[in-house]
Symmetry: D2
Subunit: 252 residues, 4 copies
């Protein structure tokens, strides 16, 4: 037994030694790159990729808006809830989630009014604000041109969408948004900026783009960066009766 | 007129001068941050986010596999095409696309056999290779534990999935993969490594992760990096009758 | 005066309006991109780029080691201080700074023994550990080959230096190290990994490389990542009488 | 012999099997992470970190400017060469290198006039343009305030320096610049933007910052991005008699 052990050791040493300074490093075994722990958490996906998985927070189920949302002042949201969707009431202002979020995956469905009114930024305009300050534009850009960095699927005035994947007005459309919140330096500047990926109706329109700062209608986003913590999802009232449904979010 | 012009100029100079060293830079106008050209290209999305949009290449429509795929040697693929899907025939080897790709968005649907056979890596094992060398693992991990960096939705032996979003065996599942190909230095090392995002059944499982090198069953991926151009999508024959359907890709 | 004001406004509106939808966005003024506040802090640089600037912490001035350093156990460092430098005493173990650091710029000078003894990793071996766990290798690689990812200027077993910029043994050499500490996810993995740039004798040898995990003599760095806060600078006792002098650090 | 071989194999299998599903993956050997080839190229560093190493191109040695530089039109540079340095001659325009560069490490020394004239941007103003379009500002900011994103060590109008490390006018100062050129998408936008690190008199003032586009005196850099290849180093004539010496560059 002892003798076999010595032979074993010699064999291993010889094998390893002979290889060391040749073409590549000493060979490994498959098991050396298997990692078993910790176990990956299990999530039950929805029936389709549009449906909320088991670890999602349903922000709007088509019926109850008050449970998860307020208006700008923390009061009851005044948008119209009907036929399984919530619709902007002009002048009622934004709605925002009671909960606040850092990194997340967000699914949201929206519909521009079937009746076409206005043009450019005046048609079917609303928006999804991430952490209260970074807007993914909602706009009816079906046969409706506007500035490229302000159209549907844009990170407003920062990143034009890769393509215009709009459906006809009156049709439901989806946004799937993967958002990584910024981290900050001590002086309030970004250590890592916000990053976002957006699929519009299943088509990639933003591919891990870096945000320069909060969305600004006027001016340069960089100039208004300031430290912030987790924030609400805000849906914009831009005066057009845009509707929303099936909103769920997964914290990352 | 001349006098007014001078006053105008003075007024502008004064206005600008007064602002210069206060809280922020001189104010802008909204139009200064509108970019109109070039126009964003229009794409018609599919009926649902699972359906191919107008700019996608349909790699498999459920009927014809030979049009876009070959076996490993460039010959006719020997997988079984039946009931609108293509199924691995054990021992027939991989199938690979005739076309090659750089950056892309890929939609692919797969199904592990309804009859549960084997465990760990032995159950419903296949894989989607990006550019012929980077594997997103396909595996039946429904109530089937394996090493975390080798389970369904993993970048095999490089990145465990964020969650296990598997459906029951016998059920169709989706992968939506956003892939950015590496760029290379002159010496064959990565200037920028491959980057991938994966949604499994609509649930984010890889969030813009950086690949370390080609997928290796044994050893360290970094050690086998070498320059390559565009590559095929390859589907793996790992001996289990995994099925595929509705495969489309958009070049980015 | 009022009339001139109106003309002025009209003139501005006209000018802006005429430009809006042409080749580019509305023109700006130079002052719109000047940022005055906050004022950039003033630092008095050293007499040469090797000398400590006014905001640096001098970790070793050639005379007093005890002020800023301990041995591994927090006791008095046992390295020899003589002739303006501190030299490894074989078997005395590492020395580490009392202070701990996050992001920093570090200047350090080292000298391998003039008398050449040993080869490969056995000659003039020491090391600078950043945050106690990430080693920039110190080694006499002047006409002394070793594995490329373990030579002077390497991030040990992670990144070979771009070039071998070693001076002869017995000669003082400089490292200028710019280090960005990792930030962590809640689960203890890296949100952003450590990043390091190294100049060796003024020559760039590491260009903003990403670390994969703590330095490991055996195994894969990724597997031993765990959350940590600020850490000491540690200088290694590898049994060779390597000397150090003129060590200063600036917190970033 | 055969029997020993079998025992050997069993021993190895047993050893590996026992480890596989415990705390971590199967242990490795040190030699498995040693990479020997290819050998790292040797560079002889300069006598001090300010001196050109053996692989540097000396762009200006204090004597001959015509060898490596032209004026803007490709003609003979008209700057004054005297006392080992080249000095801006007001109105003679820029000087630019005949050679063009992609990624590089650049060492350059500059001196603002000893006689203080003007203020803010009017004092000791010049600039180092990387690839002909990205300016690292040269300015006498010693007791001379200007807008933060336009002072010495700034990436002009894009990134203020971390600190103001200016020396007195009339004193030689150093810039060490590490520059990574952009890579482009097919549509002329950045795939990866330019990135720059700057040490001013040995003090870090730009830490791997990302450039947004070409330097613009007026307007937003992003809007003027367009594909370009390697480019010259350009030194600016801003009307002040700024001097330069000891300029060398290493291609990366």
């Amino acid at each position: 037994m002892i003798r076999t052990g010595i032979i074993l050791m010699l064999a291993i040493i010889t094998a390893f030694g002979a290889i060391a300074q040749t073409d590549g490093p000493m060979p490994m075994k498959p098991e050396m790159t298997e990692i078993w722990d910790p176990e990956v958490p299990v999530v039950t996906p929805g029936a389709t990729p549009l449906d909320a998985p088991s670890d999602a927070i349903v922000l709007f189920d088509g019926i109850d808006l008050e449970n998860e949302w307020t208006n700008a002042d923390g009061g009851k949201p005044e948008w119209k809830v009907e036929d399984g969707c919530a619709t902007v009431v002009k002048g009622s202002g934004v709605i925002k989630t009671k909960r606040v979020f850092d990194d997340f995956q967000l699914h949201i469905e929206w519909r521009a009014p079937a009746e076409v009114v206005g043009k450019s930024q005046g048609r079917g305009n609303s928006g999804v604000f991430l952490q209260e300050r970074y807007e993914v534009q909602v706009l009816d850009n079906y046969n409706n041109r506007t500035y490229r960095n302000g159209q549907a699927g844009s990170v407003y005035k920062q990143h034009a969408p890769l393509v215009n994947a709009c459906k006809e007005p009156g049709t439901w459309q989806t946004y799937d948004i993967i958002y990584t919140a910024p981290r900050f330096n001590d002086d309030g500047t970004y250590f890592t900026p916000p990053v976002v990926t957006v699929l519009h109706n299943g088509v990639l329109v933003q591919n891990n783009v870096t945000l320069r700062g909060p969305t600004e209608y006027i001016g340069i986003p960089e100039y208004s960066v300031e430290e912030h913590g987790p924030g609400s999802i805000i849906l914009q009232d831009h005066g057009n009766p845009v509707s929303y449904r099936n909103i769920w979010i997964r914290e990352l």
